[in-house]
Symmetry: C3
């Protein structure tokens, strides 16, 4: 057993967490110890995989994915996690199913879960809907389990919703731990979570919201910056303030970058736009949606200077802040004419962003593992031995 | 080994059945002992799963699904069964394949089966076609196996056709066994299989046809009731009469419900409509199809009183008959304005219907197991020990 | 251990090959020993499967497929191979992914590969593009592996490109070995790879190109025949000449069939047409494409006499040459009015063509195995014991 495994296992055994037969829906629902348990377990899985050691804990059973929005990396991360744990992936394609016929969420959730251990859901398009839907699925399988319909209680894992993106932000946190050497070292480090210009509109709020909530909680001095009007959900801002009194909100990318140890420049649509969009989508008002898109792109267009370029990077700590992104980034002259980040800056940190993403399958595996194992620490000890 | 496992294993060892290298296409092709073997094995698998014990009998190999109609629960039931037995699921998506290019069924069936152990097929849209197609696939893999193209002979499992729906009805039968305590107790119990109003049209005949054939055979006094004109395939009616002289056909929902121990109210399209529809679909006659739909919905509309409501339920044995449905049901005020069943009745039996559905993965697993194992009883003994 | 296993293992241990952490992109990149290693391993896997013995070497991990063209048999062959080795299949559906958003191949390839062992790609539509894309994916995962993004280096397997179709032609070669008794016996045998009439156009060049390159190399006297104008990529012709001085190009089907031991009549689109088509596809010039199709079908129509019928078969060695096809064939009076092969000829060799296809899953498994195992021979010895 190498040092990392030994150390993480030891830390894990001292934490107080009860995740068995629970879900992983919002980081804000979890205690510090529960989040730390997920991080330590993910890091153990990552290390085991690097060493070519198996952490297959299931003999059979399904891992179900429900993607209500396109996805590559989350899709493959979930598939990888499920496979590594010994489950078979089953994707619920709502188009091919009979679910549109007025079937209740409660019924569908039970019908797919007879042999399931986990259900991963991505639903980030409608403000006020995504997390609610996940909660409904959770309630349904809980009832099914309590009433003897389901032999096991599959856990629901949030693969991105309208509020949070826990699998992404916990992977980001692992990257930060890896980069700065320890979770302790993150305390007092300055992270700039900023809006950035993109030629597309309607990008979800979950990443910036998740980052400011999680990183403040782990002791980082987080600065949120965006052009006037590009607000996040107000409750999340309040939450971040509660976690860390050094949390600040600014309207200047440059100011946010000043002396930052880490920058996370990423586009999103303003909160109020997402609300209007949700209303229009519900009404299937195509003309309204087109109008909104036009208006928003015009608005975005006023902020093309919100690009993470070499000049702005020079403002950061020693000009060498870590650049982060959940990918795919809108890269100027690569994926678009003008985007979130300049070609040179992205290229300098490209491998770092890939490594950041590489933690995600292990974070998801940890979430499934901790919510499905009755004695997760004991079981991990057995696996490692 | 608990009592249920011991008892079922003992019963199983006394049955006379030869299912190895065979298919599961129609219940009417099977002997009583063969059907009972499927039920007992399914119940063993269900119990093993409840106990967290594996019944993975394959190390590798494919379980192939071909869905020619949308499906959620059957899709997931098949995926679950295949996974629990240790096979990998491969869905043949006829759109993504080259099969439309005039390739023969015989060729396709062999091309996908080199490492397959089973092929599950759903094809219920065209009267006279679905089961025929399954038989063609069966003939093809039989020839491939005999001529050395295939090392193993995958079994074909009917996941719903134009005639029968064996995985559904055998799951229904397990629910009845569970509810009434034993297969013996079903003898003389009164089951009302009735048509019910639905705002949609073209629902398959396979469930009512399968129910009247199977439940008469297991000693139940089955009454079939439907509005004049909503006939099933005549041969199936004759079959049911042959199985049980107490089988009756009526044109009144109320009369059928009188003193019933079990009611199964479910919509279907009349036999002659399905024939016309099949002809129109073959000709791709869109106008004709629209006309037919209009005509049928108007006809359905005359029978909105065929709803399973509390008043009609009061007519059943002590007002407490078991309500069954293959799901999803058209529930008044839930999934539609006026439907097959009232909100209150459905809610009272909702968990029962979920449990009914929960047997399906295990029934499918039993069908695959029995058709692929040379010594299924011996192997089961080993698994249980 | 039976004779075939013993013999192949012994031969394998004497070969000089280094495929670990490499790809399988073009047969022409491989040494004779490397190709022979793939054949011997595939035959071992085929035999193990026949005996019901497992060759599952992975505990978990993904096998990723990327199909940029429709496919049944290659799709299922890859799924079967991946499953037999113990990997989970994950299909990258480029429509459901975010890849269209200007993401680089390099990024996508890394994002899906964190827990992958192999990536199978089919990309045969654009001349000059398919193999290039595979090479890009290969470069990307190589970089990811070298820079610590990926713990393992997934191998890229060519499931058909614009140049070659190694999994098909190596399966064809195994069929020939099986038919003629040994690889030695192939030396001097006459194979006629000929164009044949088809009512469709735009069929890829990869099979004829792959066949003439591979079979000349294994000592067969290959004759390529096609109507004037239906040329293959010039470089491949040069290659075949280099492998075997008995390689000939003719413009007569009859002449090519004369005394042939094997005939492989198959339609393809002329090289220059594929170039024009590629240009038009890139420009999304629908009218141009329609025009080209019309022109080509008219051209094809002049060569309806290029059908493999009984009369032409009589010209072959004792009138009994082996007929081969990669399937599906255009069969006169079966899948089309006038096609590549007459009904009678195809029916006579139908089972042979199925057996030919049956080797493909094992060839793919061998390619994955050899590129992912550090000590493939030693591991095979363990498996067989």
């Amino acid at each position: 057993m190498n040092n990392l495994l030994k150390e993480n296992l030891s830390k894990l055994s001292k934490l107080d967490f009860k995740l068995f037969n629970k879900d992983f829906l919002l980081n804000s629902d979890k205690t510090d110890d529960e989040l730390m348990a997920a991080e330590l377990t993910a890091e153990i899985f990552n290390e085991l995989h690097r060493l070519g050691k198996s952490f297959k804990v299931f003999d059979s059973g399904l891992g179900i994915s429900i993607f209500r929005d396109n996805s590559t990396r989350t899709r493959f991360s979930f598939a990888s996690a499920v496979n590594a744990l010994g489950l078979g992936l089953s994707d619920l394609d709502e188009v091919k199913s009979q679910i549109a016929h007025g079937e209740t969420v409660c019924e569908s959730a039970n019908m797919i879960s007879f042999l399931a251990q986990t259900i991963g859901i991505r639903d980030d398009m409608y403000l006020g809907e995504g997390n609610k839907y996940m909660q409904e699925v959770s309630d349904a399988v809980e009832e099914g389990y309590q009433k003897g319909v389901l032999h096991f209680r599959p856990s629901v894992v949030n693969l991105q919703c309208d509020i949070d993106h826990p699998t992404q932000t916990l992977a980001d946190l692992l990257k930060l731990k890896d980069y700065f050497g320890s979770f302790e070292n993150l305390k007092g480090k300055k992270l700039a979570m900023t809006w950035a210009y993109s030629p597309s509109y309607g990008k979800p709020l979950s990443v910036p919201q998740g980052i400011i909530s999680l990183m403040t909680r782990f002791g980082m001095d987080v600065t949120l910056a965006y052009p006037e009007g590009y607000d996040l959900i107000p409750e999340v801002i309040e939450q971040a303030k509660g976690y860390n009194s050094n949390f600040k909100v600014l309207n200047s990318m440059e100011e946010a970058f000043k002396d930052a140890d880490v920058v996370y420049p990423k586009s999103w649509a303003p909160f109020y736009v997402m609300q209007r969009r949700t209303d229009l989508l519900k009404k299937s008002d195509k003309d309204g949606l087109k109008e909104l898109e036009k208006e928003c792109l015009a608005n975005n267009g006023k902020h093309k200077d919100w690009e993470c370029d070499e000049k702005k990077m020079k403002l950061t700590k020693k000009g060498e802040a870590l650049y982060m992104h959940c990918l795919p980034a809108d890269i100027t002259d690569v994926s678009c004419k003008e985007g979130e980040v300049s070609k040179n800056v992205f290229e300098k940190y490209r491998i770092h962003t890939y490594q950041e993403a590489s933690f995600k399958p292990f974070v998801i595996a940890a979430m499934i593992y901790l919510t499905r194992m009755e004695n997760p620490v004991k079981k991990l000890e057995e696996i490692i031995k």
